[in-house]
Symmetry: D3
Subunit: 248 residues, 6 copies
Amino acid sequence: MKLLLVNPNLTQAVTDAVLAAARARAAPGTELVAVTGSFGPAVIGSRAENALAQHGVLDLVAQHAPGCDAVVLGVSLDTALWACRELLDIPVIGMTEAGLLCGATVATRIGLLTNGARMGPLYRELVQSYGLADRLAGIETITLTPQQMVGAPQAAQDAVLAAARTLVERDGAEAVLLAGAAMASMAEVLQPQLPVPLLDGVGCAVALAQAMVGLRLPRARVGSVSPTGGRAVQGVSPALAQLFARPT
Amino acid sequence: MKLLLVNPNLTQAVTDAVLAAARARAAPGTELVAVTGSFGPAVIGSRAENALAQHGVLDLVAQHAPGCDAVVLGVSLDTALWACRELLDIPVIGMTEAGLLCGATVATRIGLLTNGARMGPLYRELVQSYGLADRLAGIETITLTPQQMVGAPQAAQDAVLAAARTLVERDGAEAVLLAGAAMASMAEVLQPQLPVPLLDGVGCAVALAQAMVGLRLPRARVGSVSPTGGRAVQGVSPALAQLFARPT
Amino acid sequence: MKLLLVNPNLTQAVTDAVLAAARARAAPGTELVAVTGSFGPAVIGSRAENALAQHGVLDLVAQHAPGCDAVVLGVSLDTALWACRELLDIPVIGMTEAGLLCGATVATRIGLLTNGARMGPLYRELVQSYGLADRLAGIETITLTPQQMVGAPQAAQDAVLAAARTLVERDGAEAVLLAGAAMASMAEVLQPQLPVPLLDGVGCAVALAQAMVGLRLPRARVGSVSPTGGRAVQGVSPALAQLFARPT
Amino acid sequence: MKLLLVNPNLTQAVTDAVLAAARARAAPGTELVAVTGSFGPAVIGSRAENALAQHGVLDLVAQHAPGCDAVVLGVSLDTALWACRELLDIPVIGMTEAGLLCGATVATRIGLLTNGARMGPLYRELVQSYGLADRLAGIETITLTPQQMVGAPQAAQDAVLAAARTLVERDGAEAVLLAGAAMASMAEVLQPQLPVPLLDGVGCAVALAQAMVGLRLPRARVGSVSPTGGRAVQGVSPALAQLFARPT
Amino acid sequence: MKLLLVNPNLTQAVTDAVLAAARARAAPGTELVAVTGSFGPAVIGSRAENALAQHGVLDLVAQHAPGCDAVVLGVSLDTALWACRELLDIPVIGMTEAGLLCGATVATRIGLLTNGARMGPLYRELVQSYGLADRLAGIETITLTPQQMVGAPQAAQDAVLAAARTLVERDGAEAVLLAGAAMASMAEVLQPQLPVPLLDGVGCAVALAQAMVGLRLPRARVGSVSPTGGRAVQGVSPALAQLFARPT
Amino acid sequence: MKLLLVNPNLTQAVTDAVLAAARARAAPGTELVAVTGSFGPAVIGSRAENALAQHGVLDLVAQHAPGCDAVVLGVSLDTALWACRELLDIPVIGMTEAGLLCGATVATRIGLLTNGARMGPLYRELVQSYGLADRLAGIETITLTPQQMVGAPQAAQDAVLAAARTLVERDGAEAVLLAGAAMASMAEVLQPQLPVPLLDGVGCAVALAQAMVGLRLPRARVGSVSPTGGRAVQGVSPALAQLFARPT
């Protein structure tokens, strides 16, 4: 089984973190391919950057999805998730979506932890868009720069732990989802210090993608997720134009 | 990996159907053990029978879960699902829950099809209890006796197909979940005749159980799903009393 | 009028407390019969124990409901409430349900107070299952052992008062429901010290049961609450098997 | 026990219907006093008339509530219900509210039937304002003039029956609430022809008012329902001005 | 364009504040007429007073709306808003409604600030009645007497600022709506000291009323907002009786 | 006042229709500038095309918004609406958002009519994302090709009228919103044949943009809509890169 990991931002270190987290959970026979965006935002930290990154995600899957068995979006806002599902014939899984769905089998309510004070509302809206607001215990944000994340890992871990405990104690979270590709690798390290399961979206997405490949469900031929087929787009990469243009 | 399939009602044919559906989706290395209830309702067709079957589910997992890696509830009302999660240290997955969670990655709204006119409200309540009401396109019920199910398979399939099409056309369902252990085996047969994915709860539960085993999440040590430990119950089987009594 | 009070756990002291609270509110002509479970959990403090107690409730009503005019469930998780409504031809009222419904006529939002930190989510789910989440101001839990409840009544009352005041001041509760059969008798004692109505679920259930008996509504003959009739169950008490088996 | 029945519109025939329906369900010792509005709308058939009738309800309770043990609003939009609860020290019950609360103990979802095509949204909004939308199966309206109601009772009953059956069959209503003071007396007559309980709001309100009187709950001293006390209003009846002006 | 500003309470100073706030935002060509109630509550500080004021609003629009192009309700509970929409052929806008609708274009969630501890639930219910609960960040109340409002403006402003900051910092409000006609004039003064937009309901209502006049939408001829026409009411002012009585 | 009308798809005829509809409702002193996308989808008829068009919208506003007083998105999925609000210092209004907000002042529930069977779920999700699901009566889709729209205007109008009437009669819509830039010009023509207001999103957006310009609200300096400032993006037009890069 071959999984494509898509990181639409331009930061290779994030792609590496996603790939490492994926490897830790992938089944022995699963091959992983990780790709990084070539245009768009360096880091996604606002709705504007997320809007722009949608083009990037589509471009990456147009180029790299052929030959893969499933796609995992390694971007914690699950950018262009349903758009990819319209365009591709293979399972596509978002990392935050997967964290919520897998978490729903171990916790009645999940706490979500992310980096960036202004990002809280975006994740609340994302969870609501999945119809999963009732399963959300609360959202807690830390505010670390990329430099702090990398240069002071202990301080970063302390901040994550403190926020996770707040979710457990204040909001009654029965599991905590680390929403942020850059935090994916922290879950395994910090788990022993937390009294509830710590969900790493990348790991959950890999596990769920493998599960969906195993189910061999056909695509819908009607409805809003069915193939559009034969659509004209201009001024984009040939691979993307071709993906839109292919017949149903 | 060893999965326990639990059918709390007393009908071996239902257990057999669940086991067959599970086998069709289980990974090569997955061992399946299916058990049938020894007391309680012959068939679960009401809240009263479902209430009684909770004892049956607990009794079965107390006896058979030791040595297994995960439990799949092969009963479409997901009877005693969260109770099992409190008592056991391994993943426990409900078949309707799994159908909804896996279906959420292929459809914005899922139609649910079950047998028994009076059962519609029970499934609506079950979906609501999962906080997933926004993802439910609608519910459609057929009314076939067990005899009709077994004795007139073509007529039964026609009824299922017609109801599934109603969910697609009237309610905009983008996938259809067959809720009913006895219908599990139909999904593969009928899929070619439907324009949307047909979800078999047992298959989804097996896939999701395998995924959760792979994630190796620890149990919560606090909150409503954490182990109770040291609880006194009387007048039940020794295995069940012991399961309640074991220390945290 | 004869009311059956059902306590499915095995603790006679709880039954006595329920009976005392019921007597304080019953109309002069109302006869009260209180029964205690003979198998199952000593105390219900988890979903697992509540799941098991459903069998106990059904068993008790099968034996004792004949000849009664209504049933009051003297267990604050309203265990097997709708199951009993399917099986019996007389009104069945849950104590927490009744506290919420009666409270809805005096308060726009009700605070719920219970014993046991892990029980909060169970009551939140119960209130949601009634479709009454919008009327819930908040939930507050105290954590007293049975010994503390009985052996240090003043300390127990202080804990209840403090939690109730938190619900009023922090959450804007305009009434407070004591959810827990063991706390039923406290309402009358503590009321003078609280600025909002203190709802005792048992008293509310008795009042509502009397009201429903007076309305003389017939049972539904269709739908999910109508009699099932003629259902086969095995391995249970003769009275319960007979209740399931009786024709519609 | 003395109950005040308040009809804020100017139609004595409606007051008589409310009184008759109340008598049919009141306990032997309950005395009933029914009063009719002296200004405002002849009939309430719009939000504008309902807005005006709020003054009428307040005026009637200011004059007639003293000496009573509880108030029942005999107007199916429950006009000024919470306003009365602020002003009065005795229980106040609305007839549609009571139908929903009592109905919630016999049906998972209730159908609401009223007269006047434009009235459907008003009742939907009323049910939502009670936080009970999840318990509403649907709303069905008939369109009969007062003349048709009185002059052709058989045709009126047929229309009500047909609409009630639609609620049961199309919407899955497990009970049907007749919302409309003028229809109160129909419930008993039509019940035998319907397969689900037919709820008469007046009867339910009388039963619930009696229950609440029996519970002897104190008023809240804080919060949005507590007494306002000492408020100045002008240009209204002396009784109403005095009711607003009395100290807390 | 001529706008009628309606203040149903009896306090001229409130009308003056509403008029001043309206003038600050009205387009150059917009003429403003402000009217004050002649009977009813001196100040609206409870549901009871708001219920009574509905009659007052209807009376004022019956007398003064003829010749105007739109009506703005200068009362922050938007008293009788939809009732006026049934009766009048011109746009009618509520000040809190307008603050929420305009605020929805600049903030994902809005904080609402009002005066009077017991008023919080009324505004929560008002926002819910508009179906806008998801856009509400939170509600914060201050408790100033009219004397304090007028006599100690600096202290009043400090209290408003502190509460607004709580909404921003604790609840994540991205805009703050001052709900209270008496606070309308504060928005412009305090804006420089707050990091989010401060919404003045009167200004928003004037802007929205002008917008709706410009759209020239016809009235609905069917449904719950269409003209009732030909309704009989008694004991009210001739102008109001005539407004109800006019044919469709 | 100068308004920028943004059409991110590549079809000039759609831009022309948007401009014409805007002109019909703009105030005398309002200048209108309409721009068309230079890359991306020819027409937006799926989530995938909408995802891609987000880049196009950002690119257009980066180039053309400077010097304007407000932006109106002339694309009925309100593509990149909140992203634009983060990036720009002037009001940005979406046409479907505006139709819903303006419609909320004339109708309790609004019907939404769009072109394309697969588009229904996208609009349902859009309305939900605004927290306005309670105000949605229903969605009805027609299925006309661009050729039919242009080449058979009478047939197209008949289809729109029929769908609008379904929304009124089946779903109780009290206003109907035409969601689709290509249908904007139809509202005025068809209004006389419908019994409820017909909302044209472009006209509503122009009116609301003018209103918001008049209110002169400052931008939030904190929260998820505040300026991001100083963000690095690559591989996009210089204007867009500069817009992301400008300091807070």
